[in-house]
């Protein structure tokens, strides 16, 4: 007996296959369709789960090793940040409002992504995609928690962060991102993968995650940018999963193509509507800008996305039709969105303001075709009025799109002076949408979108006041009651940045930290 003959070392691919692929089996005491009840109802046909190509090959031992290393580094930075008043290192307290938008609008979605990928990681009959989805599920709870932990220190010192989960479920503009994820999770596992795995994580991540994290890097936000760098390799894995998933569906059966195409069309448009909030953040909320929304769109969507769709063309996938409108929209949406938030700044959980002259010049340079022509005069007027003590706040409520839930603020294709409305009828009721893209989505699944909990409708129906409110009482102030129900600290979380507690505290604290008086 030769004690020293070592067994042949297995290759990575072979080893990974043993570590995952062999684990599952065809059940026989219970029928497979009962073990995987969500596998077929969406109409996607999968003939051979073994054809799944693992987009990354991480066994749990390697996963723990890499991730623990990243966690140790990240929390060391967060501790140092908290200990040394890292919040005073940001460019300007206005920047914090971008972080507020992130914590209230994005971090809770990371959480829902965690639950949704746990479901996908249970529901696919193939072991390969299940393990990959579970890894993403556990990454997503990581992201939601590390974001909360990174931003926790800001919450201690500034307004608008303090009740993010409560606000997500209620505040009007937060229903935009919330309904997006509710929509995806309420669909089946395959649509979830196209909605979140492919459209959100692959096509749109460079326009969502990257602008916020780059904004943090440009504006001295050590806490958020450290999280961003730490999440980068996770995000790269998530992108490869989304892409593999769509290719797998398309390769399995030609009948899958029209279903997948429909989902791509839907989720590309749904995602782009959510990105309006990011566009306005990039162009207006960052004191030190990374690039304009239009530039980001051109690089990350038109160029990179174009290459992706060229790659998918061999499966018969076409660029979603609704996207042709984006070429025009990229010049407008950030200005239109910011104008809306400025007017409704009394009901937002972050501060708003009008850009200064230097910033307006930057916007003119970045948007030579539109800013001066359509927006500068209005913004200058509002700024002048505010300086005279007439800061404008709209006290009415805007109509919301039945699908994306954004107020009707976008304009008609070809006419940037006219608000765009579309109307559909379902079971005798009229429903309004903001665009052809949203109308198309509504018309395809009206039974789903008539369920939308539209914040403005709900306010008018009296469903958004604290318990015990009497709307017939004399002097009843409906807006104040709604803000109370939102858990806003009225006067601190909302209104203009000028004169805010954030502005005053940041100036005073920075003074303490940098001066001797």
């Amino acid at each position: 007996m030769d004690m020293n003959v070592k067994k042949k070392k297995l290759g990575l691919k072979e080893k990974y296959a043993h570590m995952t692929r062999g684990l599952d089996w065809q059940t026989s005491y219970q029928p497979m369709e009962k073990v995987f009840p969500q596998a077929t109802f969406e109409g996607i046909k999968i003939h051979d789960w073994d054809k799944w190509e693992d987009p990354f090959r991480l066994t749990m031992d390697a996963y723990w090793k890499y991730q623990a290393e990243k966690e140790r580094k990240l929390y060391a930075v967060l501790d140092a940040f908290a200990q040394n008043n890292g919040h005073l290192g940001i460019t300007d307290a206005r920047y914090l409002n971008a972080v507020k938008l992130f914590l209230t609008g994005i971090s809770p979605l990371e959480y829902v992504a965690h639950r949704g990928f746990a479901a996908a990681g249970r529901n696919f009959p193939g072991v390969g995609p299940r393990v990959a989805c579970l890894m993403q599920s556990v990454d997503e709870i990581r992201h939601s928690q590390t974001q909360i932990h990174a931003i926790s220190n800001y919450n201690k010192h500034y307004d608008g962060f303090h009740d993010f989960k409560h606000m997500l479920e209620r505040v009007w503009y937060l229903s935009v991102p919330k309904s997006f994820f509710d929509d995806a999770f309420s669909a089946g596992p395959f649509e979830w993968m196209i909605a979140i795995g492919f459209s959100f994580e692959y096509v749109l991540t460079n326009l969502l995650f990257v602008p916020f994290m780059s904004g943090a890097a440009y504006n001295g936000d050590m806490a958020t940018v450290t999280f961003g760098f730490s999440a980068q390799s996770d995000e790269a894995r998530h992108m490869t999963l989304g892409l593999e998933c769509i290719k797998f569906m398309l390769e399995q059966d030609p009948d899958n193509l029209p279903i997948v195409q429909k989902w791509i069309d839907k989720w590309a448009w749904r995602g782009i509507r959510v990105l309006s909030l990011v566009g306005m953040m990039m162009d207006y909320m960052l004191p030190k800008r990374v690039m304009s929304w239009k530039e980001a769109w051109e690089i990350y969507f038109e160029q990179n996305g174009g290459a992706l769709f060229a790659d998918l063309a061999r499966y018969g996938i076409k660029v979603p039709e609704c996207l042709t409108q984006c070429t025009e929209d990229k010049e407008h949406i950030s200005h239109q969105a910011w104008a809306t938030f400025y007017q409704y700044g009394g009901a937002a959980a972050f501060h708003t303001w009008m850009p200064n002259d230097e910033e307006m010049d930057w916007l003119s340079a970045k948007y030579p075709n539109t800013f001066d022509k359509y927006y500068r005069a209005r913004f200058t007027y509002w700024r002048d009025e505010a300086e005279k003590g007439n800061r404008f706040y709209s006290n009415t409520l805007p109509m919301l799109c039945q699908v994306c839930q954004i107020p009707m603020l976008f304009t008609e294709p070809g006419d940037p002076t006219k608000i765009c409305y579309r109307e559909s009828e379902y079971e005798g009721e009229k429903y309004h949408t903001c665009s052809d893209g949203c109308k198309h989505i509504f018309d395809d699944e009206p039974e789903k979108y008539v369920q939308s909990w539209l914040p403005v409708h709900q306010i008018y129906q009296g469903n958004c006041f604290p318990d015990g409110t009497d709307p017939t009482a004399e002097g009843f102030d409906p807006l104040a009651a709604v803000l109370d129900w939102y858990h806003f600290n009225n006067g601190h979380d909302n209104l203009d940045f000028e004169g805010s507690r954030d502005q005053a505290n940041f100036a005073a604290w920075r003074g303490m930290a940098t001066k001797n008086t």
Partner: protein, 329 residues
């Protein structure tokens, strides 16, 4: 001696988020608290799930167990992602050094043949049982209620995947890839494994997530882990199979740690109401004989004549554990 570094002190406006302060008061909160409490959405969902239109996306009605506050089901280990992954990576380092040493020095070759055959016949097919544990816990993580319990269930699901992978490595170290095929054939066809496979498949179709928690995490793991990683492992060590014990060290440590978490959930849920207690008691009484029947042929292979005695001891310990957690079984 102390040295006193001066820093610029700023009085914060608040110490934590409002939803944490509502539970614990406005004082500095732990990372477990901020990363766990009330982060699952509870109100206002836009659309009914297409896969279960009669319920909301997150819905308390997916189990018969009911809690006034689902966050009472807290994790005594206080695992948030960072704490969990760092704890596991430490255990993994220890396991890895064992595997490295065994592989580099060819220590698998000194395992007595009989021990080796028992390990191949008993340990390696258990990787499929672990995979069932992964599926049950990922189901709870998806459809359970409240992050306090859904979060550790995902960690538990990933831990089960890891255990399945350690068992796979044991097969590879002791024999090679053929060991995995043999084990899979046994799992699918051999009489010894059919009661267990049937039981695992039956649990895969249970809808009530807390029932899965009891069936899988309390009963199946509570009987199987001591049997395998305590009793059988003891036999291995006593008979020249220490090399195998080195490779199952993770499982032994892990089950001690996770049993504390499982017991804490059972204890709190059972103490909540007479209805909960009855439900959990009944589930334990329903699943215990099924698991014992499924373990009987495996124990027979592992312990021979001693099988009944060993199973009786394991059952007695399990019953004592249940009693300690407030159950009457």
């Amino acid at each position: 001696m102390e040295i006193d570094l001066r820093t610029v002190a700023i009085k914060p406006l608040r110490h934590t988020f409002d939803h944490i302060a509502r539970r614990f008061g406005d004082k500095p909160a732990s990372r477990y608290q901020e990363g766990t409490y009330d982060i699952q959405q509870t109100d206002i969902f836009h659309y009914r799930p297409m896969w279960e239109p009669e319920l909301q996306l997150f819905d308390k009605r997916r189990t018969k167990v009911q809690m006034k506050d689902w966050y009472a089901l807290k994790d005594p280990r206080q695992f948030y992602y960072g704490a969990w992954t760092i704890a596991r990576s430490r255990q993994q380092d220890a396991a890895e050094s064992s595997f490295d040493m065994i592989e580099e020095r060819g220590l698998a070759d000194i395992v007595p043949e009989e021990i080796k055959q028992t390990a191949l016949a008993v340990l390696v097919p258990l990787r499929h049982v672990e995979w069932g544990g992964n599926m049950g816990n990922s189901y709870i993580s998806a459809y359970g209620y409240g992050t306090a319990i859904t979060q550790p269930c995902l960690y538990h699901a990933m831990d089960h995947l890891a255990v399945a992978q350690y068992l796979t490595r044991i097969g590879l170290v002791l024999e090679g890839p053929e060991a995995l095929d043999t084990a899979k054939d046994a799992w699918m066809e051999a009489a010894m494994w059919q009661p267990m496979r049937q039981h695992v498949e039956n649990v895969l179709v249970v809808q009530d997530w807390f029932e899965i928690f009891v069936a899988q995490n309390l009963v199946l793991e509570g009987l199987t882990y001591p049997l395998i990683y305590d009793y059988l492992d003891g036999d291995f060590s006593a008979n020249g199979g220490t090399v195998i014990s080195m490779m199952t060290r993770f499982m032994g440590e892990w089950s001690t740690e996770t049993a504390k978490w499982v017991d804490a959930q059972i204890k709190v849920a059972a103490a909540e109401s007479a209805e909960n207690k009855t439900l959990i008691n009944d589930w334990v009484k329903q699943y215990r004989p099924l698991v014992l029947a499924a373990l009987a042929p495996i124990a027979q292979r592992a312990f021979g004549e001693q099988a009944e005695t060993v199973l009786a001891e394991v059952t007695a310990q399990f019953n004592a554990r249940c009693t300690k957690a407030g159950l009457t079984v």
